[in-house]
């Protein structure tokens, strides 16, 4: 087991965002988390990355407890985070954004890493001297993913990578996720686009307000009546 979250709870002040939630990710797996707005999917992801404090529960990465690590301590362990809404550095160029991903990290061959990422996302290559702020939303999403991949993660946490993208870019992003996964990176994916997410995912978790109420393979969840009714708009 690469990542294991056991009975975790997170509060924002007095408000419980997630309670007693357990999930895990195996090596080379894509795992999707779907569920309605405000169900706590992003919170679960932030908890894994140390961006919010755990109220209770434990998180293990590679068998090691990572409950109390700060976000910057996750990166060297092999966990990278692509935040919701992309969050680039708008006045820096595409290249500079990529460099920032691996910036001041030891033992990283930045040049070679950048080449790999530009090969994965050819449309970024043409725009590498442009400011991140002028890219289209789809290109920005690729850049955000590329910036995280600069850290050579073993586990990539992606928060709603398809949000606000035009349909053709949504397809590309999901294709790239599969490609990234094929090269050996596990992915924990939070998505509003439940159908696409479950199609690419090996397994999925369905969130309801603050907790997980279903867990199965992606294929089975796609067929489940409950999931269909709630998220797939009646097929």
């Amino acid at each position: 087991m690469l990542l294991e979250a056991k009975n975790i709870s997170v509060c924002y002040g007095a408000v419980k965002a997630i309670e007693d939630v357990s999930f895990n990710v195996d090596a080379c797996e894509i795992v999707a988390m779907i569920g309605p707005n405000g169900a706590g999917k992003s919170t679960a992801l932030k908890a894994v990355f140390g961006m919010v404090d755990l109220k209770s529960g434990d998180i293990y990465f590679d068998g090691e407890n990572i409950n109390n690590l700060r976000p910057d301590e996750h990166v060297p362990k092999g966990i990278s985070h692509v935040p919701e809404g992309r969050r680039l550095f708008p006045s820096m160029t595409v290249m500079e954004n990529l460099e920032m991903g691996a910036f001041l990290q030891k033992g990283n061959n930045t040049g070679a890493e950048i080449e790999k990422i530009l090969t994965l996302f050819p449309s970024l290559k043409e725009r590498r001297r442009q400011k991140a702020g002028v890219l289209s939303t789809g290109e920005q999403q690729m850049l955000a993913m590329g910036r995280a991949l600069m850290q050579k993660p073993r586990l990539l946490l992606a928060d709603e990578p398809s949000l606000g993208l035009s349909p053709s870019y949504v397809d590309i992003i999901f294709e790239k996720l599969i490609e990234i996964n094929k090269s050996g990176t596990s992915i924990l994916l939070v998505e509003q686009n439940a159908r696409m997410a479950l199609e690419v995912a090996h397994r999925g978790y369905v969130f309801e307000i603050g907790r997980i109420f279903m867990e199965d393979t992606g294929r089975n969840l796609l067929k489940s009546e409950e999931v269909k009714r709630a998220f797939l708009g009646g097929i």
Partner: protein
């Protein structure tokens, strides 16, 4: 002539304050509002060391800057966790506390009576008595500050400050220990402000809490914004113009009793015009908040 040199000395001290605040506000995006508190600590530390213990102002200057930096840590530690406006309010609050301590801890600071007779700096046993000599001293410190801050913002470290300025969540996401960087910036900014305070004290040879009111913090912030956030050149321009311009009123025969409140009004008016017409400052790159 001597008066003109005096104005330049004061402008030089403000340039140091402006540069150091620009590191925090302009280059890192921390809306810190109590900058003069650090100068206050620097000024009182080195003055008291000289007056009570006969310690050389040179050693006092370094000690004062270190104490200011320590205060930067104390103020920064809780404040950096706050966002935008809240950070501004918290640092403002700390500024008020420091002012109030300097006014009310009478046993140490003599409160509103102030500290008279602060010795001047001396080089090879000669006191820097003439204003031009002092101007050279201040000029050296201005260059030193500008050089250091330029080195910082041009370094890989500075690149991360820029990334924090652009998007804090993104900086966290790519694994930067944002709070540690912010705290270092607070301590470095406070250090240079402490130097400015000490330079001021040993120049005027008298300090009292009225030199370190919140109005001064706001004036320095205005110099940063006026010249340009995130611009070294801007800090020179902002401080020079805003120090020299009000002084010219005196040349026009305005009595001090009128010139002083007029200075504040001019500052207020400039701030409004600036926000409307040129929010990024004269040579700056970023808007304020």
């Amino acid at each position: 002539m001597e008066y003109f040199l005096h104005i330049l000395v004061i402008a030089g001290i403000y340039i140091i304050l402006t540069l150091s605040l620009n590191l925090m506000v302009g280059f890192t995006g921390l809306a810190a509002l109590g900058h003069i508190a650090f100068a206050c600590v620097g000024a009182y530390t080195s003055s008291l060391l000289a007056l009570n213990h006969g310690i050389s102002p040179w050693i006092g200057l370094i000690t004062g800057a270190c104490f200011a930096s320590l205060l930067g840590f104390v103020i920064g530690f809780p404040s950096i966790r706050l966002k935008g406006d809240y950070l501004a309010l918290a640092t403002f609050g700390f500024g008020v506390i420091v002012y109030s301590v300097s006014k009310n801890w009478v046993d140490l600071t003599r409160g509103p009576m102030g500290l008279p007779g602060i010795p001047k700096f001396a080089v090879f046993g000669f006191e820097l008595q003439p204003v031009w000599a002092y101007l050279i001293l201040v000029f050296v410190f201005v260059l030193l500050t500008a050089f250091m801050i330029n080195r910082i913002v041009d370094s890989p470290f500075g690149r991360i400050l820029k990334s924090i300025r652009e998007d804090e969540v993104a900086s966290l996401s790519i694994g930067k220990d944002v709070n540690r960087y912010k705290l270092i910036v607070f301590m470095v900014g406070a250090f240079f402000a402490g130097i400015a305070g000490s330079l001021y004290a040993h120049y005027i040879t008298f300090i009292d809490p009225s030199s370190f009111t919140m109005m001064e913090s706001i004036a320095v912030l205005l110099m940063v914004v006026f010249g340009g956030m995130g611009s070294i050149r801007g800090s020179f321009i902002g401080a020079l113009i805003l120090v020299i311009f009000p002084e010219m009123l005196r040349f026009l025969g305005m009595p001090s009793s009128v010139a002083a409140p007029l200075r504040q009004m001019i500052y207020g008016l400039l701030l409004v015009i600036l926000m409307l017409k040129r929010p990024q400052g004269i040579v700056g790159k970023y808007r304020f908040m």
